[in-house]
Amino acid sequence: MKLVAESLSLSYHGRPVVEGASFALAAGELVAIVGANGSGKSTLLSGLAALKTPDHGRVLLDGRDVRCMDRRDLARHLAVLHQFATGGLDLTVRDLASRGRYPHRGPFHRETAEDRLAVERALTLANASVLADRKLGSLSGGERQRAWIALALAQEPEVLVLDEPAAWLDLKHESELMHLLRQLCNRGVLVVAVMHELLLATRFADRVIALAGGRIVFDGRPAEFLDPAFLERVFGVPMTIVRGPDGLPMPVMATGPACEAPALDGEAAGPLGVAASGL
């Protein structure tokens, strides 16, 4: 599967937010979309998933314009994980995941053994098997997130589009999610995720697409993205790159002069210093 954006421009509530985005994504890539709040990340994602009509340009899935595809047909190839999904609170996690089979089964046909297998596989992959019989309304934010991930995986998509998938997750599940996404990529799934957490994005993704003011300002390997001057332009705060204990570069916010703790100076004339020198 190949997902191509051709000079894509999108609006949000009538205001243009993404302008002239062009890129080609291939199967097996793990792509992180990063940028400051309001830079157009989520809108770009909606455009890729055909949830929004572009003002200009188009999105092609294996050469077919996604806006012209039958929605159910598209849903058999492309799954979306939304950032604020609030429905289905009365459903058990397994019921929720099994609704991911809708695009394959349609409104009338009964669940087949293949459907049930796909649902159990999705629950296992999303680490939600232990939650399967619990109602969504009784779960914590992170547990719900895993249930929604299971729904997307039950679609058995070739392209998985996620908006802030690590939101709500604690460190353990965050790391498990990233390994899951990597695992899916290794099986040939194209994963595109909006990521808030720069460290996750640069560590796990094969490719980073950075947005600033609705335009793509960077598209390339994470290592090349980690440039302090560049990061400052994208996020508007001074950044530095440090080496982690494993030797990998990590972007961190540089502390400006205003934030620095006052340096301790042995010669400083304080009440204590005066007393000490008097001895």
């Binding site: 998933a49 949830l51 039958d70 929605r71 159910r72 047909d73 598209l74 849903a75 058999r76 799954a79 979306v80 939304h82 999904a85 609030t86 429905g87 289905g88 009365d90 459903l91 058990t92 019921d95 929720l96 609704r99 991911g100 809708y102 695009p103 349609g106 409104p107 009338f108 729904l151 679609q155």
Partner: protein, 325 residues
């Protein structure tokens, strides 16, 4: 708890059968089962034949159709608005159907029954249209929707009462209409209103698979290949048809649309392809039993059937709200 769909459906069907038999046998005059059977099968001019065939059977079928229609209308409006407390009466669909039906009955007293049924159905569709506009405009806010619905409902109910009081006629009939009742319901109510209800019940069953996805949220539904706007419009349109047909038969019956879907989900799980038919069955059971009670408590006279559904429905509403809290 669920996962026994067949058992639950058979139990509901069995209950409906028992209520039906009781409805045919009991009343101002009790008939033995043998009399009922004879009344049903023989086309004699026997007394039991007249009672069963001309009075009790049409009234029973009226009750079953109105109950199934109202209950499924409730399931549809709850899913379409994603609000478990939604109900055709609460959100103004029943009053809209009642207002148009009552207006035609008061202003054109000689209207044939089919015109009254058509007027109720048109009113139901108009009420559903207003709800659709409110549901599509709001930013997914259930509170706003309920406020619009409650306002609409109160407004229309007030006009209905004003209209009926100004007409100075048929006070008894008006009371039966306002509280919901099947006093004097016969074949002609059934033959003019049931076709709308039966078509819409079929439509609701067809829509069930899409509603399963719609309840997850508009964005999620779109992502799974269901058009949320079109599905919601279809659900509310069918809700309007069903409500209109029920109002034409039984007047303004409340609470059936609220409670039956919840009982069905409690017994049958969350798959609408099972829940919707089960809801219809339960609605038929509830209204037929309410009518049976209404005919028996002060026999040979009777109270409006809608009072009995409210007496069962209102405490259940309180129970539901407390359980959710």
């Amino acid at each position: 708890m669920p996962q026994r769909p067949l058992a639950v459906a058979s139990a509901a069907t069995g209950t409906l059968f028992l209520v039906a038999v009781a409805s045919l046998a009991l009343g101002a005059i009790n008939l033995s089962l043998g009399d009922v059977w004879q009344g049903l099968t023989s086309d004699s001019t026997a007394f039991s034949h007249t009672v069963v065939w001309e009075i009790r059977l049409p009234r029973l079928l009226d009750a079953m159709v109105a109950g199934a229609a109202l209950a499924v209308a409730g399931a549809l409006i709850q899913d379409a608005t994603r609000n478990p407390l939604a109900d055709p009466t609460l959100l103004g669909v029943t009053p809209a159907a009642g207002l148009v039906g009552a207006a035609v009955a008061v202003w054109y007293p000689d209207s044939p029954q089919w015109a009254l049924a058509l007027a109720s159905v048109a009113g139901g569709l108009a009420g559903a249209g207003i709800m659709l506009a409110a549901a599509s405009r709001g930013d997914d806010s259930p509170v706003q929707l309920v406020l619009v619905g409650v306002g609409l409902s109160a407004f229309l109910s007030a006009i209905i009462v004003a209209l009926l009081s100004s007409s100075r006629t048929f006070l008894q009939t008006s009371l039966g209409f306002l509280a919901g009742g099947l006093y004097g319901a016969e074949w002609k109510e059934l033959s003019t209103a049931a076709p709308y209800a039966i078509v819409a019940l079929g439509g609701a069953f067809v829509l069930a698979g899409r509603l399963n996805v719609l309840v997850l949220g508009d964005d999620v539904a779109r992502g799974l290949g269901v058009n949320p706007g079109r599905t919601r419009a279809a659900a509310l349109g069918l809700c309007g048809l069903l409500t209109g047909a029920a109002v034409a038969i039984a007047g303004l019956v409340s609470f059936v649309g609220l409670v039956c879907p919840h009982i069905a989900r409690f017994l049958g799980g969350n798959d609408n392809r099972l829940v919707i038919p089960l809801t219809g069955l339960l609605g038929a059971v509830l209204v037929a039993s309410a009518d049976l009670v209404a005919r028996l408590v002060i026999r040979p006279s009777e109270i409006p059937m809608g009072i009995c559904t409210a007496i069962i429905g209102a405490p259940f509403l309180v129970y539901l709200v407390r359980r959710r809290a």
